[in-house]
Symmetry: D3
Subunit: 294 residues, 6 copies
Amino acid sequence: MTDVPLTYEDAPAHAVRTAVALALAEDLTPLGDLTSALLDPTITAVAQIVARWPGRVAGTACATEAFAQVDESIEVSWAVRDGGAVEPGTRIGTVSGRLAPILTAERTALNFLGHLSGVATLTAAYVAAAATGGSAQVWDTRKTTPGLRALEKAAVRAGGGRNHRGNLSDWVLLKDNHIVGLGITEAVRRCHDRWPARTVHVECDRLDQMTEAITAGATAVLLDNMSTDEVTACVIEADRLAAGGRRCLLEVSGGVTLESIGAYSATGVDLISVGRLTDSAPILDIGLDIEPTS
Amino acid sequence: MTDVPLTYEDAPAHAVRTAVALALAEDLTPLGDLTSALLDPTITAVAQIVARWPGRVAGTACATEAFAQVDESIEVSWAVRDGGAVEPGTRIGTVSGRLAPILTAERTALNFLGHLSGVATLTAAYVAAAATGGSAQVWDTRKTTPGLRALEKAAVRAGGGRNHRGNLSDWVLLKDNHIVGLGITEAVRRCHDRWPARTVHVECDRLDQMTEAITAGATAVLLDNMSTDEVTACVIEADRLAAGGRRCLLEVSGGVTLESIGAYSATGVDLISVGRLTDSAPILDIGLDIEPTS
Amino acid sequence: MTDVPLTYEDAPAHAVRTAVALALAEDLTPLGDLTSALLDPTITAVAQIVARWPGRVAGTACATEAFAQVDESIEVSWAVRDGGAVEPGTRIGTVSGRLAPILTAERTALNFLGHLSGVATLTAAYVAAAATGGSAQVWDTRKTTPGLRALEKAAVRAGGGRNHRGNLSDWVLLKDNHIVGLGITEAVRRCHDRWPARTVHVECDRLDQMTEAITAGATAVLLDNMSTDEVTACVIEADRLAAGGRRCLLEVSGGVTLESIGAYSATGVDLISVGRLTDSAPILDIGLDIEPTS
Amino acid sequence: MTDVPLTYEDAPAHAVRTAVALALAEDLTPLGDLTSALLDPTITAVAQIVARWPGRVAGTACATEAFAQVDESIEVSWAVRDGGAVEPGTRIGTVSGRLAPILTAERTALNFLGHLSGVATLTAAYVAAAATGGSAQVWDTRKTTPGLRALEKAAVRAGGGRNHRGNLSDWVLLKDNHIVGLGITEAVRRCHDRWPARTVHVECDRLDQMTEAITAGATAVLLDNMSTDEVTACVIEADRLAAGGRRCLLEVSGGVTLESIGAYSATGVDLISVGRLTDSAPILDIGLDIEPTS
Amino acid sequence: MTDVPLTYEDAPAHAVRTAVALALAEDLTPLGDLTSALLDPTITAVAQIVARWPGRVAGTACATEAFAQVDESIEVSWAVRDGGAVEPGTRIGTVSGRLAPILTAERTALNFLGHLSGVATLTAAYVAAAATGGSAQVWDTRKTTPGLRALEKAAVRAGGGRNHRGNLSDWVLLKDNHIVGLGITEAVRRCHDRWPARTVHVECDRLDQMTEAITAGATAVLLDNMSTDEVTACVIEADRLAAGGRRCLLEVSGGVTLESIGAYSATGVDLISVGRLTDSAPILDIGLDIEPTS
Amino acid sequence: MTDVPLTYEDAPAHAVRTAVALALAEDLTPLGDLTSALLDPTITAVAQIVARWPGRVAGTACATEAFAQVDESIEVSWAVRDGGAVEPGTRIGTVSGRLAPILTAERTALNFLGHLSGVATLTAAYVAAAATGGSAQVWDTRKTTPGLRALEKAAVRAGGGRNHRGNLSDWVLLKDNHIVGLGITEAVRRCHDRWPARTVHVECDRLDQMTEAITAGATAVLLDNMSTDEVTACVIEADRLAAGGRRCLLEVSGGVTLESIGAYSATGVDLISVGRLTDSAPILDIGLDIEPTS
């Protein structure tokens, strides 16, 4: 069996272990797998993990972990790892061992693979659509499924996207409610003082807010719910303010779709963030084709 | 402030507490909310939880818990509870207390509300579509997001759907790999012996399998990936076998869409299960409109 | 060393891991094993796990796990696995490795083995007693020791018993307080609607309640605290209602003893549930005979 | 409603919280209480917790916690607290609140109450039997149910017994395998050096071992599996060695029954330890009598 | 009783809850507080939390939580909150309630207060010493006590320091081993591509490395183990490169002491990081003066 | 690679596993190690764990566990184990495997090693200083860092110290607040009754209290904050009371320093407890010298 190594961009090992343990507990409490218990425990099988739809794979480490936590003697090898592209019928991996525990772990393994590959696949679609217009990166957001932040953000990377801040503790993102009564300039100054060296990101609804944020020293500005024309005006102004130096990072956010992302990318912004990468991605259908071997 | 009680069909309290604790930890480790820390801690606010899109609400208990775990003095009341229908602009609930912790908990609360309301909304759409053809119930599956089984299954109920087995420990579902070498009749017999009184569900690809399963005493049969014509033939045969008594439950499963569910419902089956209710539901967009009060 | 494989009916692996981790933590917090720390750490030993009393074994996976969590280099093999019968002196298994960690894990391993084998042994006694009167199965209940549900229910299976519902989420069991104000017929109808395909079990104190429950479509009825004469009357009526078809499952419950179970079994009921299998089973005495080897 | 405070000898609060959370999770994963979900959620009830058998109560804090974790608005008050004696029919406590969550928590609350009161009741029986012969205290052992060490040891105290060491980290107990190659005298010396001020307990099979242990400075000796005559000889010798000073504590252990404990107590030993207090206590039957109030 | 509110810069609530639960479990497993169990449970007390040494307070939320987790009826109020300066004898807070649980929680509460106030106090000393030379901020590092990252970083803020990155997930810090084979320029470019908008920090041993890092677009450079003369040269060069614009942040790190920090601050760098703030801070001695009140 | 086994006095394995898992989670949530993700995942390395300062090592099991939890294929071997003395430059151990995960685990491993070796080193210094005056043992206290009780107490043993009680559940320590209203004699009597065989330790401020405690049968007395003259008077009186038998253990506690411990040791007491061993030990500086190998 061939095996393809996972690159180190995947989710951290502890996050994989914890998420899989929770998923198995919710699927097996209290009596375990009633149906597999009817099987002759000596039957073994080889099973192929196969893509049913085209897309990008993510979550292979979770699948490996799911089989291992049910029965550590099950062997899993991968022909495609996170980030790999698949077509319907592509063999992604192979599972071999006792049939009963393979069936017990099957759904948990596939739920991770399907969901995370769904995130990677939708990300790849946005990345491709953005590339038709320009060179803007595609970002995720904090609109992730509760409990799966680390895994979904890794799936976005597998799909060719980039990660916005990981959580509230990563960097500062000033929204309107944070600025009320302070003004952008004073708020940014406080950030630089309280959280030095850290990214200061400012949400802007209008060009004049962007100008103030950049002048105050923001690392990045989020252009919120603007039309491509408004964004273009912002890009021109930001280029002017950069005066040939490193331009403040410009993020477009708010309701960008697969249809509109190319046009936003063409404006020359650096980044476009898309909540639906993680909050609304349908699964990628991946199945397990099992052949009993004894 | 009015408040609407949650019915007792919601997810169990311990599942809500645990899921929220995990979600907050992943959003706040290690330093907490950098941005809210810049605020004057004495500022208070009243915030409205408002639907942006039409749909069905679910997850209100999670939202209440998210605010409480961040700051137990925040007050949350609900005008709409799980299962309630909303239109764009409908006020779902109200949050009041200190502004800083409200902002800290906001995304976590909305991630639960958005995701679970998305599940309820998609379920309601399938339920409505099924009703156009007949009286078949709409079921979920075990294709849930890892770690959120209890919450998503409650969201399906909020959307008017019904729950398939909760996990591998609930009841027996014999698939092809369980039956190999035994045959349906013997497999069902073993189930009745080993797991007495428990639902025995048999996956069938063909009418003759269904006949054998019903004759063997299955509680329900899953008609897998059949056309409406094939299903109709099964219904006729199952009616015949029932001979005026209680007919074995007939479930349709496999690739049923919003477009096709009405036709399947019209065949007279009892239940149609739909994996995408939980594995591919886009969020329902719900926002928090905040007004500082001091 | 010979080793006997565990059948797949044992408790799920995650339940074993979690229960053992808790048990070791309560025995070793905070300083670990003071006494074993006095030993020369290079001493090794071979220890026999030996039955002191006759009975049925259960909990071998827990014992393996206890030694492994203390020192993963300890080797454990089994001559008897869960469900096996033992006599005083029967060697159940062998443990070999460093003496100090063997002594540290000894009591935890034996506590699991003794308790769970006690459950299996008492179950086997009830099963044998029931068989003297008829073919009724022996069931457990939800009267399990808190935290050990999965393990005790597996021990009941090892003793030849069958599992009643695993928990409140498995199936519906209507007791008097659930029915008040609805009546049995309406309550059963609601169950079939809300929790389709799921077992609906109805607790009945009188024959007329049983008749109503069966007519309403209950999967099983629990004949609560009835005399054998009352039960016999119920069996006759249930047979009549079945009219040659599959009879509703009849469960006897309430105060059945080793002395009375044969008579209840002789009535022709399907199942007799016994709370004391799990709430009052004395341990099976199992010891560890240790011989230092270096 | 009257309420009786718990004395401070009960199990620590964190142990109660953790054990109850585990018990509820195993009873409610994944869907919660299917049956109570059928109830009208506005129905309230008052329920009496009533003894069915005579005995001693323990575990009231666990019962309070079980109701609170399911629904914090449920009120629980106690007429009898841990250590109190009850007769069949004695009202132990009262629960009031919404009916549905009361039914959901009922079995978990009763499982704790029944099991822990069973431990307290059996302890009280041994204490009473020991008192017929002399003044020896009754001790528990480390033969506790995995996961319930803290709660069962508190139940032993509620029954009038005393606690042997809580775990392997409390004090030193030298058994034959610890002493091999060192001899008692050297082993005790090492204990005093490595674990100063800490109880050093020595298991002895023969009088000469006891003499050596006492001379070496043991805090207590465990007279293992001796007849009452052998124990009497040990008592005489230990008195002689004490020479009017504080005698080394003498513990009798091994197979002591309700029938034999009086005779052992009459020998003049200080303590008799009984594994079955915690490993083989049948439950005390306690029930919940519920009256819907609306 | 007066009470002083905690500002929102403290550690997140979930981190406080979790750390306190662990600390209580390790202090109370398995039997609870043997000594307090001897007390009359009706005795109440008022206790003053008093500084024995001068310093800065931190950890008040942990102390509140420790008392609450042992007995939720204990009341705690604060005269000084995190960040407040105290002298020997300063009353920091007041605890009132039942004496037994106050004594049980005392050491846990004081361990948090003493340790975290120790961190805050040492930080304040470094901040004061740095201010004698210039305006450089004092930073912590990732050299924190395992398990207490969130709490210790909050204590640094309470002492007037600033937080370096919270963990490996916050921002990029390129050290020599990350750069080998890539060179600084290419490594920084990759960071900007893979982790856009995120702080890119480069460790430099020599001025030419700093120049390359700044030119490549680093957010900050860490001047590692340099003399003040070397640092001064770097500051001059960095000012030159800034050309009147925003200068790259300059961090001094490595072996800076209370004696040397003033001189480093005088060089004009922005920040000086000090591992010993969190890895070597002695406690601030804080005691509990208890007066029984009944 | 040579490897040196850990003696069995180290912290229990479950405590190591749990503490490391928490430490990695706080360092890697949510996105993992951003910087190491930039590396070519096929690069391997050999790294030496090297002492920078002289001292005593502790925490090697934690370091092994940290590397293993990040990547189980990393190999760690030890030239020096807990308790071993090191000089600047001493190689303590060797780590080999993939470079990226080695860098990810590096700081966590070193934080454990540095902190626990710091505790061991300070303990060894106190032990050496005490030995200059007499033969008194050096004890720790319950003033440990929250969450690290088991590990720090093991580090004290590695440094040649002895452990005071592990927690509140180990033995009884009567302080002034426990005795109020009872008097020492009655309080000790209650201890012997309620917690038989268990160490009873009495805190004494004056010689007459000590006399009463010893006469009452205390196992040990804590001479609190006394001068060496006062302690000497106590020793003389305790010798007199022992009358040639085993003297009650005498502990000196309160503000003992490296300068004063020799004089206290010279008084002839048995034990001197020092809170700062665990609450104020600076780290021992230990580094990782990494050489990429491919």
